[in-house]
Symmetry: C2
């Protein structure tokens, strides 16, 4: 099973924000949409970074109230790990667990094609392993 299976269920919608937006605007966006991170889209619709709740809390911790007027660009994670829709779910899960990140933008032909969270990945992976286990049990029962 690949990332495409997740996107086909949850859709390709993905909340984005501009690098010039302020962290105050970003906090409102994440709260309103009830999400943990937004993809930062720069010139030419390319993925410039990702901004998570953790990035906002870290900026607050460093700059107190001054953080609110800072730009998304100043607080975002620039080294964004992305995936394609063709990556397998075990492969992506392994990368997310090892790198300790919770959100991965899906990029196709240089454009954003969705976002998957660790919750999405885990849900699908567990279903997959449980199906495999069930199939093995049925095989044993009928052998």
């Amino acid at each position: 099973m690949t990332v495409r299976a997740i996107l086909s269920l949850k859709g390709k919608d993905c909340v984005t924000i501009a690098p010039e937006a302020t962290l105050a605007e970003a906090a409102r966006l994440l709260s309103e949409k009830r999400i943990g991170a937004a993809v930062v889209i720069g010139p030419g619709q390319r993925v410039a970074g990702i901004l998570s709740e953790r990035d906002i809390v870290r900026a607050l911790s460093k700059h107190a109230a001054g953080a609110l007027a800072q730009t998304v660009a100043s607080a975002m994670t620039r080294e964004v790990v992305t995936c394609t829709a063709d990556e397998t779910i075990p492969s992506l899960m392994q990368r997310m667990t090892a790198g300790r990140f919770r959100h991965v933008p899906v990029v196709e032909h240089g454009r954003l094609a969705g976002i998957v969270s660790i919750g999405d990945v885990v849900k699908h992976r567990i279903e997959e392993v449980e199906r495999e286990s069930q199939a093995l049990k049925e095989y044993i029962a009928t052998a």
Copy 2:
């Protein structure tokens, strides 16, 4: 496998904060410890709530810079779902997925005995299901 197996690996340490602390202090604590939530401990060492990165971002979104001077008590989640060390991992994972929360304090005899995250739970659950699957495959191969 139960929650006890997770605690025996990660330990019973748990970052706590007082309900009277400010959100500025809470942001510093979460950033320094590199964690997503702290357990709020009230009078008599009882669990009074849990304060996550999400709670801080939500307070910022509502109150802008004013949020920083607010108390942890004003922003924390009061309805804390807890577990015991004897709860099975599949049972806890099901509750966390259904309720969409990421951290569960472990309470024993009314006292905090650790905290488990969705990451801890998922890691153990996947290992458990993969071991089961491996055992079934070996059974088939040798039958």
